[in-house]
């Protein structure tokens, strides 16, 4: 099998959904991986250029919204080549799994946000012994 080569990630600019952002600037859709383990749901969000202080996570009516702010860079340098644009990130998901909303944790490293959403105790599969009547 040939080595898998990385393809250009398409940076999709998004139209502000239901209500514009108060802050000016463009917003992009970050690429997301979501996987599920028996105990939890894990989201990995690619947000290069976002510091851990500049991430806002908001949970409202089982909709989790992630905003990553990229500081606007400006100096007197001259642009020679511009292949990608920078901007803020926004994405939201409706959480359909039963998640313990009070124990959601997040960490940011190397431009990747990791959100851990532990499942509610009752949603963790458990073997139930059937009693014979």
């Amino acid at each position: 099998m040939p080595e898998q080569e990385l393809k250009i990630p398409e940076k999709k600019e998004i139209a502000p959904p239901a209500g514009e952002f108060t802050r000016e600037g463009s917003y992009y859709t970050p690429a997301v991986d979501i996987y599920e383990t028996p105990q939890e749901l894990v989201m990995l969000v690619d947000m290069p250029g976002v510091r851990s202080d500049d991430v806002e996570i908001d949970l409202n009516n089982s909709v989790i919204s992630i905003v990553g702010k990229v500081p606007v860079f400006s100096d007197d340098s001259r642009e020679l080549l511009t292949e990608y644009c920078t901007g803020n990130y926004f994405r939201s998901f409706r959480i359909t799994e039963v998640v313990d909303q009070s124990r959601i944790s997040a960490s940011m490293s190397d431009g990747v946000l990791k959100l851990t959403l532990p499942k509610l105790e009752k949603a963790v599969p458990r073997k139930i012994a059937i009693q014979s009547a």
Binding site: K7, E10, E13, I14, S77, T82
Partner: protein, 160 residues
Amino acid sequence: MAPWRFGSDPLWSEFDRLRRGMDDLFTALTGTRPFAAPRFGALPASLWAQGRLFPLLNVRQAGDVYVVTAELPGLKSEDLEINVEGDTLSLKGERKPLELSEGTSYHRRERASGKFHRSITLPNKVAADDVKATYKDGVLTIRLPIEKAVLPKHIAISAE
């Protein structure tokens, strides 16, 4: 006066054919129909994007230094290899796939993994010994000072 029948005249049909050809070329290059209202988030992969290699690079010139940046989230600095030779900068690396334990299942998988290798020719030779690279918050920044020998020299005129 005869009504002007648009489109039936051989001149106009030739013009239409040319216009359609130009539109198709424009669409192939940019991924959008010319004069079409921009559709957010739904642009198909265009030839422009297909013709480029990962990672996308931005190059700026700040004084006598070229600053190359690339968005490479989730990499370790040891997975990156940067080489400079004359006026050529080459980047090599790998974004490793996640290793998931048994019993996990993906709901969504959008973040790509794999190897990449890209070279870029800068407008001038750079001083390879003074190149500095930093990797922070998923963004790689390489600062390449232009070699002294190619910088313009100021020559003072001495009075005799």
